[in-house]
Symmetry: C2
Amino acid sequence: MSFFDATAVDTKDMSYKAAIHEGWDVVGNANGGYLMAIGARAMAAAAELPHPVTVTAHYLSPGRPGPVSITPQIVKVGRRLTTVRATLQGPDKPLIELLGSFSDLNRIEGPVRVDASPPDLPPPEDCPLTVPNQEVGFPPAMMGRVELRLHPDDAQFLAGNPSGDPLLRGWIRLINDEPMDVFGLLLATDAFPPTIFNAKLPVAWTPTVELTAHVRGVPEPGWLRCRFSTRFISGGMMEEDGELWDSSGRLVAQSRQLALTPQG
Amino acid sequence: MSFFDATAVDTKDMSYKAAIHEGWDVVGNANGGYLMAIGARAMAAAAELPHPVTVTAHYLSPGRPGPVSITPQIVKVGRRLTTVRATLQGPDKPLIELLGSFSDLNRIEGPVRVDASPPDLPPPEDCPLTVPNQEVGFPPAMMGRVELRLHPDDAQFLAGNPSGDPLLRGWIRLINDEPMDVFGLLLATDAFPPTIFNAKLPVAWTPTVELTAHVRGVPEPGWLRCRFSTRFISGGMMEEDGELWDSSGRLVAQSRQLALTPQG
């Protein structure tokens, strides 16, 4: 099943129905970026605009395979942006709460100045495929849905040798040559292992409180180059910053999530 | 009038009433951090928790002095966090839409690892006070409410000589020795001039689409040291990342906003 089908939203009869499909999970819980993509598809449909520009999700309860519904409410229709809020509702409780602004990215223009470059990565075929490691609960089942290849310097945690630097760089694409659209970018912002796996800290699991993704461009087909890093692990929390670059070398998304860091 | 009084929320009769007070504006429009602080105070009251942990605001319409109302709705009450959404409503239209999670920061613990330091600044008395410059619309009237002192290397844009680097570092505190509480941090995330003023680009004004603030600690009394920077100006948009450090040298807040960069 394609990512497109796995995040499809049925908008008939003014209802917004979708499903959490099998396999888009991390040790049984639906991936946070996957849930955001489903919610954002419904919100974009309600806004009648093609592109999420900035979407924030607060994670309330783990998502399990099965039907979900979304209740997008238009907050404001502006000249360039339409703001929408929504709840992604499971069978018996809300799963995530969303707030986002949507637009047609092709209609927004401005000056360009970029003070950063895509991460320097060996070619995908020289980057390790993630391999199962029960101890850290990785890779999740979702690894059958996306192809993820880590920078060799950042992948040794898989063998029990974390680098000591909470940084993860690598390539990602959907399987079967499915193009990565703007909703796929939302998935990709949460598809890498947690940066803390490389931090040499007694923390195995960092539940996401909030994830905000900025879509800065429509990606060209091909692999995305990604960089996820953490600078502040403190007060029981950590941020994780993501940069996603497309095959043309352009930044197409930025993300930041706040996660809890309970002692392992 | 103190910041505390200027952001007070009347919670009598299950309504949440507040006011946008004179002087907390930038060329006539209420400061975005000030509006977020009012909204977050109402949300924290509804959650019956003292601290915003992560709050996102989408900016819909400019705020003008006068009465506002807030309608916080509890999304979920969790063990550590309570999630709340709210609209800050002006006399005739919604001003900002908010989504946040609240907690008692003193009840959350975890490991500590920080890979960053506060910005290196000359003492406040050696940092220029911002001076009026009609051309860039700065400083705003709010400068009578907070004391803001910029790093000399980043302040030359005020004299028409931008540094060329979209970076602004400096000190901030409330006037009259009012302590900066967690809601003051929300104000401070949007109180500096736009980083783009130092970028040598033909952009004079960058309206905020969305601002997300993470409160990572309760600040100690005294000056905050702040760093605001931008790495990606592209596609008609830019992000602005903020770090706020308290007088004890601890990171107390992180922020990121997405702003539009229309050609000047």
